[in-house]
């Protein structure tokens, strides 16, 4: 308990130090009659590299400098105001959701944000500038964190009493445990053999409805598209703590591969400064592979233009895919086939085919999963 409090203090400290340092630099330069600058890493895939040893997309050293000029004066004022808001939140041990932050800015007169995406962008900038996580700045995302069902006890704490609170993820019936926005304080107990991360809520529901987790002795996690930071962090902490393998089960299309799986495993290009903690380098890719489409005679849809572009982009620009030969082959195969197949296409062979045939067959050979 106390150790996690220390960790929190440390995280707060990093954010506070970063804010103070940045503010001081701006102030000093301004008084000298120079134009203040804000420096932050470039947030894009072009500024990350992949090393198999560390296993995540790690930030390179490209920085962009925003100098205070006529054109940047508004953004500059907004950034500093938001930094100040963050400091205030840390000082008062409070939080604000991204949406709330947007509404707080409505007090800033002409410097207010007109739309939330503007305020979100500034938030991402500050995060990258300080090299901290959004949560360390005390800003919370709106999106839900994903759902969990299976052989897992999550140990949380009671908000009022601070007492440990054991949550049994087998006990939600036809429902599931929701991953909270902040997961750093959670502890785990489990005897499950692996974690299965599932793209769609539909597939998750089918497996939960039949208590597949019991049959396979696993933990099921519904990502609902690209996993949120909380989901990634939750899976990471769980996998690290329990030394469990993580298998990924997504649609056999470029989005499932290059966006959902890649982000889960190695993080994103946009928030690369936090990838180290917010990804699951041990995750592997179970399916649907392009080969599955053939082996299981799955019904397909043609790849759209945007799919092909995404796949080609992964081969060309994504350091993760470029590194792994099997992935290059798989993506090339997908492009060549010109088709994609959804998880739920397995229903063609019967609604329970996925539980009775596909998953058992695949899980016999985790060594054949794509990296």
């Amino acid at each position: 308990m106390s150790s996690s409090k220390n960790a929190l203090d440390k995280a707060d400290n990093k954010a506070l130090v970063g804010i103070d340092k940045t503010a001081k630099e701006v102030y000093d330069k301004a008084l000298k009659g120079q134009k203040p600058q804000l420096k932050m890493p470039v947030r894009s895939l072009s500024n990350v590299r992949y090393k198999d040893k560390t296993g995540f997309l790690e930030l390179r050293n490209q920085y962009k400098t925003r100098t205070l000029t006529y054109n940047t004066v508004k953004g500059f004022a907004q950034t500093l105001k938001m930094m100040s808001a963050s400091k205030e939140l840390i000082d008062t041990n409070d939080h604000a959701s991204k949406r709330e932050m947007y509404y707080i800015s409505k007090n800033w007169g002409p410097a207010r944000f007109d739309e939330q995406p503007e305020s979100d962008t500034v938030m991402d900038d500050i995060e990258a500038m300080m090299c901290v996580n959004r949560e360390q700045l005390r800003f919370l995302p709106e999106e839900k964190g994903g759902e969990v069902a299976g052989q897992l006890i999550v140990i949380d704490k009671d908000r009022d009493t601070g007492k440990a609170l054991k949550i049994d993820c087998t006990g939600f019936g036809s429902g599931a445990y929701s991953i909270p926005i902040s997961v750093e304080h959670l502890q785990f107990q489990t005897k499950a053999k692996f974690i299965l991360c599932i793209e769609t809520a539909g597939m998750f529901q089918r497996l939960v409805a039949h208590n597949y987790w019991r049959k396979a002795n696993c933990i099921l996690i519904s990502m609902g598209g690209v996993p949120t930071r909380a989901t990634r962090r939750f899976v990471r902490r769980l996998a690290d703590a329990m030394k469990m393998p993580v298998y990924t089960f997504v649609d056999g299309d470029p989005y499932g591969v290059a966006n959902i799986y890649r982000t889960l495993k190695v993080g994103s290009g946009n928030a690369a400064h936090i990838n180290e903690f917010f990804c699951v380098p041990t995750a592997t890719f179970m399916g649907i592979t392009p080969q599955d489409v053939i082996d299981y005679k799955l019904p397909t849809h043609p790849l759209k233009e945007v799919d092909i572009k995404r796949a080609k982009d992964a081969l060309k620009n994504d350091p993760f895919f470029k590194f792994h030969k099997p992935w290059v082959k798989a993506v090339e195969q997908m492009i060549a086939s010109g088709v994609r197949a959804e998880q739920q296409a397995l229903a063609k062979h019967g609604l329970n085919y996925v539980m009775d045939e596909y998953l058992p067959q695949k899980l016999k050979h985790p060594d054949r999963f794509l990296p």
Binding site: I19, V26, A30, L68, T69, Y70, K74, F76, K81, P110
Partner: protein, 612 residues
């Protein structure tokens, strides 16, 4: 149109033209007042040709009339109806050519002709002009038809002729007066005057205007024209009442007496005409005409008494008469073959060389020799010249380099005065003007001047206002037929930030004044409302407008830059306080420190903005 020195020879049967033996395919008049008068001309020259035309016309008419009982004409029967048309008859029928198309315009044209004459006369005599225009309504005022009435009228099958008003107009000046014997000819004869045959910048040119006005008055009211004139040396003024005999284009003097001159001035002329007309204020009104005249003639004093008895006084703004324009001889480049022959016929010179050097400007002995050389001719006597020889000389002229005509004969209004003129008419932010160097069309020197106003109280929603002047006379009608308009609508105004519908005047807060001064301003018609489309003139107008446009561009970009700078400064000021505020919150600095950082940042950015 004051008509003083010379007598025009064309239409008077009792003139000596019959004694001329040499062919004159085109008379002087037709060279200048081009095609409309050619009917008359060709009749004089070659009656047979005209006969044919008439025969054709009447023949076709007759055919269409009826098939039964149609009795074809023969040459003899046609000949019985063929007769000469006097210029007066011609214009009486075609009064629209002279600007008498409707009652409103007729009234204004009459004022215009009289005022032009008065100003010309005063200036030529070196007198500072004082002109009084009085307009009295003799009939009841006719109310404008309401919209409904107008609609009803347009629908109705029985159409009554529109009712008109009747006015008594008097225009009085302090000019040199007119010699008694000349009065009937000047006022009672069309195409009689002093200004047609010379090349000198003046308002009047043709010798038609005032007599046509009198004729119009007589035709519409039956009242004669009344002229009172006083010469400086005579103790008494004399009074003449006359009408034009349109059949013969001759004055018919009804009354002639001596009178006391009731004015301070030692000389002067007063013209009174009773006519049908219509007085309206606003655009194309007499009020506007006089106002514009005060602008282009700051040395003239105007008084105007309108039909409601309101008196308007416009004192002169300067006691300096504009420099008197000098008269020039024609430049050989601009003289067409017909006119050349006519000049050869009219000259007193004994030899061709003498003729060339004495009757033309810029022809020295050397130039004349050059012309002979080019024509492969030697100097020859003009006592009985062979037409081929004359033709050869004429052909050779354009092949010889001859200096441009002298241009000191033209007196521009001047850039300063032009700007002032426009300033009276408009309340704008920005004025510019330009007086171009003289140029030449058809051998006639001319100068184009342009002034431009922009911004201020000028409406941004309306098309550009255009003020046109020719030899200081405001042009109020037929803008679309005018060379100025053709140039203005063809220019690209969008680059000055104005909207411009295709082939139209730009829309925006801009007004323009264009003055064309020449020894002979080429009008599209005798009513002198629009300037003809000579390429040389259009080019000069274009260049003048573009020159003003360049200044406008500078002004627009200057003010745009200033507005941009103000906007930027304002933008910076909007956001910098928040930077100070945020720093204060984060660093817990004092209000003083906060204000200091704000002001320092502001000046840092202001500086860099200027550099940028």
């Amino acid at each position: 149109m004051g008509k003083r020195k010379q007598v025009l020879k064309i239409t008077d049967e009792n003139e000596e033209k019959s004694t001329k033996k040499r062919p004159a395919p085109q008379g002087e008049l037709f060279q200048k007042i081009e095609p409309r008068l050619k009917i008359k001309r060709s009749e004089e020259e070659d009656p047979s040709e005209e006969d044919e035309k008439l025969a054709k016309a009447s023949g076709s008419k007759a055919k269409s009339k009826s098939k039964k009982g149609f009795k074809p004409e023969n040459a003899e029967s046609l000949a019985r109806r063929q007769r000469e048309i006097s210029v007066s008859e011609f214009f009486a029928k075609n009064r629209h050519l002279l600007g008498f198309d409707n009652p409103k315009k007729a009234l204004l044209t009459t004022v215009k002709e009289a005022v032009d004459n008065s100003l010309d006369a005063c200036e030529e005599a070196g007198i500072l002009p004082t002109i009084t225009v009085k307009l009295k309504r003799l009939s009841a005022k006719i109310a404008e038809p309401t919209e409904e009435e107008a609609k009803e009228n347009a629908k109705g099958k029985k159409r009554m002729p529109a009712a008109t008003e009747r006015y008594h107009l008097s225009i009085e000046d302090n000019g040199p007066g007119i010699v008694k014997e000349q009065i009937p000819k000047i006022f009672g004869k069309l195409l009689y005057g002093s200004k047609f045959h010379r090349l000198k910048m003046s308002r009047g040119q043709q010798g038609i205007g005032i007599s046509a006005a009198g004729m119009y008055g007589h035709m519409t009211t039956g009242k004669p024209m009344q002229i009172t004139s006083k010469l400086p040396k005579k103790p008494k003024a004399y009074f003449v009442e006359l009408v034009i005999d349109t059949k013969t284009n001759k004055p018919d003097v009804l009354k002639e007496i001596d009178l006391d001159w009731p004015h301070e001035s030692s000389s002067g002329t007063k013209v009174e005409i009773t006519l049908e007309g219509r007085y309206q204020r606003g655009r194309q009104s007499i009020d506007e005409f006089i106002l514009q005249n005060t602008l282009s003639n700051p040395h003239a004093e105007f008084h105007f008494v309108d039909p409601d008895g309101q008196k308007f006084d416009y004192p002169r703004k300067t006691d300096d008469l504009p420099p008197a324009p000098t008269e020039i001889k024609p430049h050989p480049y601009g003289v067409e073959l017909g006119r050349f022959h006519q000049m050869v016929a009219d000259t007193h010179a004994k030899t061709m060389k003498k003729f060339l050097t004495s009757e033309f400007s810029r022809v020295s002995e050397k130039v004349a020799d050059e012309i002979f050389k080019t024509a492969s001719l030697k100097d020859f006597s003009l006592s009985n010249p062979r037409p081929e020889q004359v033709n050869k000389i004429h052909e050779a002229i354009p092949k010889v380099a001859i200096m441009s005509p002298p241009t000191d004969c033209i007196v521009p209004i001047g850039e300063k005065l032009l700007t002032e003129t426009l300033r009276y008419q408009t309340k704008a932010d920005f004025y510019t003007s330009v007086t171009r160097s003289p140029s030449v069309y058809r051998g006639n020197p001319f100068i184009v001047e342009c002034a431009l106003a922009y911004g201020g109280e000028l409406s941004g929603e309306e098309a550009m206002s255009v003020y046109r002047f020719a030899n200081r006379v405001p042009l109020q009608f037929q803008p679309s037929a005018c060379a100025t308009m053709r140039v203005l609508t063809k220019l690209d105004w969008k680059k000055y930030g104005l909207n411009q519908p295709k082939n139209s005047l730009p829309v925006g807060p801009v007004a323009i004044l264009i003055h064309i001064a020449s020894v002979w301003v080429p009008f599209t018609s005798e009513s002198k409302e629009a300037i003809a489309d000579y390429p040389e003139i259009k080019q000069e107008i274009r260049l003048a407008v573009l020159e003003c446009g360049r200044q406008l561009s500078l002004h627009v970009s200057r003010s745009r830059r200033a507005a941009e700078a103000a906007r930027k400064a304002n933008y910076i000021d909007t956001y910098i306080p928040f930077i100070g505020e945020a720093l204060q919150e984060m660093l817990k600095i004092s209000d003083q420190q906060r204000d200091k950082v704000i002001s320092t940042l502001r000046s840092t950015l202001e500086k860099s903005k200027l550099e940028g």
